[in-house]
């Protein structure tokens, strides 16, 4: 297998008289999307060496999760990719359900698919906004936030939170959707395609944008696999890998959607992929709304250890649809199956994987999070080398990293 990108590391970067200096970009820098630090070795404005440094946001989630019950661990996932917290919640729940073999009612699956796609829209909108701002297109930023606001309002109506939702639960979701939520969502997805067209008029036909993105940060499909890229970064290079198609979870096998693929593997191809993904998300949400089946939203036997004592009493008084399984599991500590499982979900940033080991306790023995942002940042040094500072900014933007997820 040939790996040109790896060889790029050995080839000296051309240009300048070889007098180098170092520049520390971040952790406080407007274009590093949080607290990423990139140590640059520069020759003029050409990057000779690029060393990303992470860890400023490390909160030890993997260690913390070992001390929390499965249901309590859910709230940690809100703080991973805080831009698309709902997608992380869904990923976590899917993984625990697989580990403990908990069934999920169909209605809950559809609702989770809807909210996961909504959070994909949220994340892509924020990505587009900041990516465009990094390249200097300021108006797109505010246009995107206009639509993102509608989505956040919808989330607020659904579960009361705008940032850290903890709405999906192991074995279902927290509450049922209301009619007004569905109506509002329908109204949003009706107008949203025209809004995407609006962004495209500002960006796609713009010569300067094309000059800044086409041919920048090129990655071939083979290189992308080698670097471990997933999500739109991998699909932009033409590799057809979408976990929603490959290993469907929730209701993704019930809906029709296409996986947009790029071919060039540059910043522009990744941009096109994400724009197309937004269209596909709308398709998925529309189908889910149309097909949303009636029924319970939590399986009667699902354990939900996050419920406080007060909630238990209301359940015992018969005022909730949560079943007896919940209370049974609250009393008993060691009923779980032993074993390990790795479950990946397609979050907006790429493949978010949870590797769980259970040894029969009600807390995970080990939880490992495979976070796409972490691996994407690791790939940055190989992608950015030999390009200009301005291209590094475009590359960081197009890899779409979130430091909360990277540092865990």
């Amino acid at each position: 297998m040939t790996r040109p990108i790896r060889q790029r590391l050995e080839v000296p970067v051309a240009g300048g008289d070889g007098e180098r200096y170092s520049l520390r970009m971040g952790p406080q820098h407007p274009a590093t999307h949080g607290v990423l630090r990139v140590d640059l070795e520069l020759d003029g404005e050409t990057i000779v060496e690029c060393t990303p440094q992470v860890g400023y946001l490390h909160r030890g989630f993997e260690k913390l999760a070992e001390t929390k019950t499965y249901a309590q661990g859910l709230i940690l996932t809100d703080r991973l990719d805080y831009i698309a917290a709902m997608a992380n919640n869904v990923g976590y729940c899917v993984a625990v359900e697989r580990l403990l073999d908990i069934p999920v009612p169909m209605r809950a699956k559809y609702i989770r698919t809807i909210v996961a796609e909504m959070s994909r829209l949220c994340s892509h909108l924020l990505w587009l906004a900041t990516h465009a701002l990094d390249i200097g297109a300021m108006t797109v930023f505010l246009y995107c936030f206009r639509e993102r606001e509608v989505l956040l309002d919808l989330f607020e109506e659904l579960c009361g939170a705008r940032l850290t939702f903890s709405y999906p639960r192991i074995g279902g979701v927290r509450q049922d959707v209301t009619g007004s939520f569905i109506d509002e969502l329908q109204r949003f997805i009706d107008i949203f395609p025209s809004r995407i067209a609006e962004y495209e008029t500002l960006i796609d036909t713009n010569r300067i944008w094309l000059k800044r993105t086409v041919g920048i940060g090129k990655i071939t499909g083979e290189e992308a696999l080698d670097l471990g890229l997933t999500g739109a970064c991998l699909r932009g290079s033409g590799v057809d890998y979408d976990i929603r198609k490959h290993q469907p979870y929730d209701a993704y096998d019930q809906v029709e959607f296409a996986v947009p693929l790029g071919s060039e593997g540059d910043v522009y191809a990744r941009y096109r992929c994400r724009i197309e993904e937004m269209h596909q998300s709308i398709r998925i949400i529309q189908q889910c709304i149309d097909q949303l089946p009636p029924g319970p939203i939590v399986d009667p036997d699902a354990p939900d250890l996050v419920m406080p004592i007060k909630a238990q009493t209301t359940i015992q008084a018969g005022r909730s649809e949560y079943g007896t399984g919940l209370i049974r599991l609250l009393r008993d500590e060691n009923i779980y199956i032993t074993g390990d499982v790795y479950v990946a979900t397609e979050v907006p940033k790429g493949e978010l994987g949870f590797y769980f080991i259970s040894d029969g306790n009600n807390r995970p023995y080990r939880m490992h999070i495979r976070s796409p942002s972490f691996i994407h940042i690791g790939a940055l040094s190989q992608i950015a080398r030999g390009e200009l500072i301005a291209d590094l900014i475009a590359n960081i933007g197009s890899l779409d990293v979130v430091l909360g997820e990277s540092d865990r």
Binding site: Y21, L23, H29, P30, A31, E45, A132, L133, D134, I135, G136, A137, M138, T139, L142, Y143, R146, L202, I203, N206, I208, W209, K211, R212, L388, I389, A390, D391, I393
Partner: protein, 322 residues
């Protein structure tokens, strides 16, 4: 007595321009706000009308931070150089017939000289801050100003050829008998080159590389604060106004309009300048930023050859017609 009168005129001009600068920021924020589906300043005064005043007072009373390892005298001087150079160009601008402080024969050259001097301020600011981001900003600015100064100078040679003068008043008057009383039509190539270099010269989007906030965190002005930062800001806006005035004078027929205005002759001039300002803002709301090497390529490979071609063409036409 004459000197005293001159001083009074200078002070009046200074005050009027400062007020315009203050409200140009308001103008920009309001317009860009409307373009970006938001309101712009709304809180200070009626529709935020007192916002520029509040900003001025705020920056005046802010702490003036000088970095520890900065080259202190140069660091303190740089914004003043910038502002003074920009202010000096105002002296030769004819706002209406006879409304000019110094009607010198080399007005256009004087303005070039002054805008060249202003870039010294930026380069020195970047150098003396002793910060790499500022330094890169200063370097970018130097390269940018040098290359676009050439293009801009060449683009105006056509106007000089047609008017036969470097005196700004005479240039305006010479335009009287061309189409619409403007050089816009006969010099459309020159105007195109001038317009693009004008954006670059004033460090505006899409050529705002010296202060690209997402790359260089503000470039040369990263380490400045308070009033000194405000000076850079004022210099930039005065620069925009001066460039817009040059465009008005050289291509749009200066103070001439469809009909003369009694009592306030500069009305057409002011309107034309604000039209330029509006276009500045419109472009800022629309375009992303060029990359450093692309900017250089555009300047040297496209604008300068086009401007040279324009000179040849103009000289040729003049030889045939005149």
């Amino acid at each position: 007595m004459n000197i005293l009168l001159m001083l009074v005129w200078i002070i009046i001009l200074f005050c009027v321009v400062m007020l315009h600068v203050a409200y140009a920021t308001y103008f920009e924020r309001k317009i860009i706000g409307r373009m970006q589906v938001r309101m712009g300043p709304m809180r200070v005064g009626w529709y935020g009308l007192l916002q520029p005043i509040a900003d001025g007072i705020k920056s005046f009373f802010k702490e003036d931070i000088v970095p520890d390892r900065a080259d202190k005298p140069v660091f303190l001087m740089a914004p003043i150089i910038c502002l003074v150079a920009m202010m000096a160009s105002l002296a030769v601008l004819p706002f209406a017939k006879g409304w000019v402080l110094a009607d010198i024969d080399i007005g256009l050259l004087f303005i070039f000289a002054m805008s060249g001097l202003a870039s010294y301020g930026i380069v020195l600011a970047g150098w003396s801050s002793n910060s790499k981001y500022s330094f890169l900003g200063g370097l970018r600015s130097m390269a940018q100003v040098i290359s676009y100064e050439v293009a801009m100078g060449l683009s105006l040679v056509g106007v000089m050829l047609m008017a036969g003068s470097l005196n700004l008043t005479e240039i305006v008057e010479a335009q009287g008998d061309s189409f619409l009383g403007m050089y816009l039509m006969p010099q459309c190539i020159g105007f195109f080159v001038f317009f693009v270099s004008m954006l670059a010269e004033t460090n505006r989007v899409p050529f705002d590389l010296p202060e690209a906030e997402t790359e260089l965190v503000s470039g040369y002005s990263t380490e400045y604060s308070g009033m000194r930062y405000a000076m850079f800001f004022m210099a930039e806006y005065i620069g925009m106004m001066v460039m817009a005035s040059i465009g008005t004078v050289c291509f749009l027929g200066g103070w001439n309009g469809p009909f003369p205005v009694p009592f306030f002759p500069p009305l057409w001039f002011v309107l034309k300048v604000y039209m330029f300002m509006f276009i500045f803002i419109w472009i800022r709301a629309t375009l992303p930023r060029y990359r450093y090497d692309q900017l250089m390529g555009l300047g040297w490979k496209l604008l300068i050859p086009v401007a040279l071609g324009n000179i040849v063409l103009t000289a040729f036409m003049k030889a045939i017609i005149g």
